[in-house]
Symmetry: C2
Subunit: 276 residues, 2 copies
């Protein structure tokens, strides 16, 4: 009890999780499933979504604004639940922040390196994430003998947001996007966009059961647990409480979130992130 007490005021503080919109809810959902005692403050930058086509400088500016907002909610750690922001802003903002900041790319890359048997890894993501080259760089740093093949899949996000998760149209588009990757004989595929886990069954159908799908949302929640345990920052609550903030269109967000998360959403608040 006493040892716990030393960092007790921090233990039950929430985790700040942010994304350009709703996609990061797959990461928040994994944290809720794996760490049910942790509270979450989620911010979805729905006024400025998508991040995938914006420049590095813009994404760093947006990430700084959001972290400033999350810190007003006394978060004990921050999860950048967005591949583009993890690729462009993690290094910069982590260096400026005195609490742990975790991105989604490294946990996914580490899991893919462990999973592959033939050393041939595919990555599917938004154009921004693919052209940043970050997954490839992280993978090559982990293991220079890997061969990495990337493919941008710009239609997956709108198809998911339209709810066409198991639709023949999504299957057809997945077939086209994944054709080249499969010809490279990959045995492991990173779902490098937070929306993609929602169509993983459709993707698995196209790539076949022998290809391992790596879900960075799942791996990031595992990484968060290990960071919190290392620093003795785990919550001692049985069940965390969760708050949701967006920069625009709170109603639409709530509807989508209700389909993804393993909990009910009581309220979604809209904030002016540029002025907060």
């Amino acid at each position: 009890m006493c040892q716990k007490g030393q960092v007790g005021h921090m233990n039950n503080a929430p985790i700040g999780v942010f994304d350009s919109g709703v996609g990061g809810l797959t990461v928040a959902g994994e944290i809720m499933r794996q760490l049910p005692g942790e509270s979450i403050v989620y911010f979805g930058d729905t006024a400025r979504v998508p991040y995938g086509s914006k420049s590095k400088e813009t994404i760093i500016t947006f990430s700084r604004q959001i972290i400033r907002f999350l810190r007003t909610k006394n978060v004990k750690a921050i999860v950048i639940a967005c591949n583009t922001a993890s690729a462009y802003a993690l290094e910069t903002v982590a260096a400026e922040t005195d609490i742990p900041v975790i991105g989604v790319i490294e946990p996914g890359a580490i899991a893919a390196d462990k999973a592959t048997r033939n050393g041939r890894i595919g990555i599917i993501a938004t154009e921004g994430t693919v052209s940043s080259g970050t997954y490839s760089n992280v993978l090559m740093n982990l293991n220079p003998s890997l061969q990495v093949f990337s493919k941008a899949c710009p239609l997956f996000v709108p198809l998911v947001e339209e709810g066409l998760l198991y639709d023949p149209v999504t299957l057809e588009i997945a077939d086209r996007y994944l054709y080249d990757l499969l010809s490279y004989d990959i045995d492991t595929l990173i779902l490098g966009c937070t929306h993609y886990p929602l169509i993983r069954r459709t993707i698995q159908k196209v790539v076949g059961e022998e290809v391992v799908l790596v879900n960075p949302a799942y791996e990031t929640a595992k990484e968060l647990e290990s960071v919190l345990r290392e620093r003795d920052m785990m919550s001692d609550e049985n069940r965390g409480s969760h708050r949701f903030f967006v920069s625009d269109s709170a109603i639409r967000f709530g509807k989508f979130a209700g389909n993804i998360l393993p909990c009910d959403i009581e309220s979604v608040e809209c904030v002016d992130i540029e002025k907060s």
Copy 2:
């Protein structure tokens, strides 16, 4: 010559055209085709796209910033080549500006009212434009006996941006989106998003030849011509010159623009619109 000379210093000044991103290039393209002597200064707000989910106040602020920027290029008239900005900001900014400001909604609505024989008009647009109700309001003001039916088509913009203009997938999605509208026996359909003219052949295939498609980009260029003629502000050049500015990702913009416009794009400049 003398009469022309009275306003001659203004005649060959460029037209300012702006949009939240690349969609407004269909309007710029129509101006180039219909008024080849006019020069254009185009601004695409690619750092803050999309506008459809943002509030009226935000869109007015953005529009003012962009008009301030365009006026530094000495434009003689401004075309708001964006449905959301036309819906939210046209009235306010036109009242503040001493040169003509034209939006895309009224020209499209007037053409639809003229085209319909049975008084039943369909509108397809983004969720933002549909939920703003602006097209319906403008149409009802023109002719209260009209019956107006709207449908948001969120996948059309990403399908166009992916280049699937005549693809079976786009045809399938168009079939689903337009099914309800067709059941209302519309005889006229407004392409209420600046991207949609690029898939008008696919849309025409779905709705059949008997439904008239109204392209607001085309009607807006006609309206611009009539405004310039009325004020004796037409250019006397044979061929205008065109400049392109964006708030982010100039390279991607240039690639897309090259596919839409009837001219080569020599350069795209990136500007900080909030500070310009």
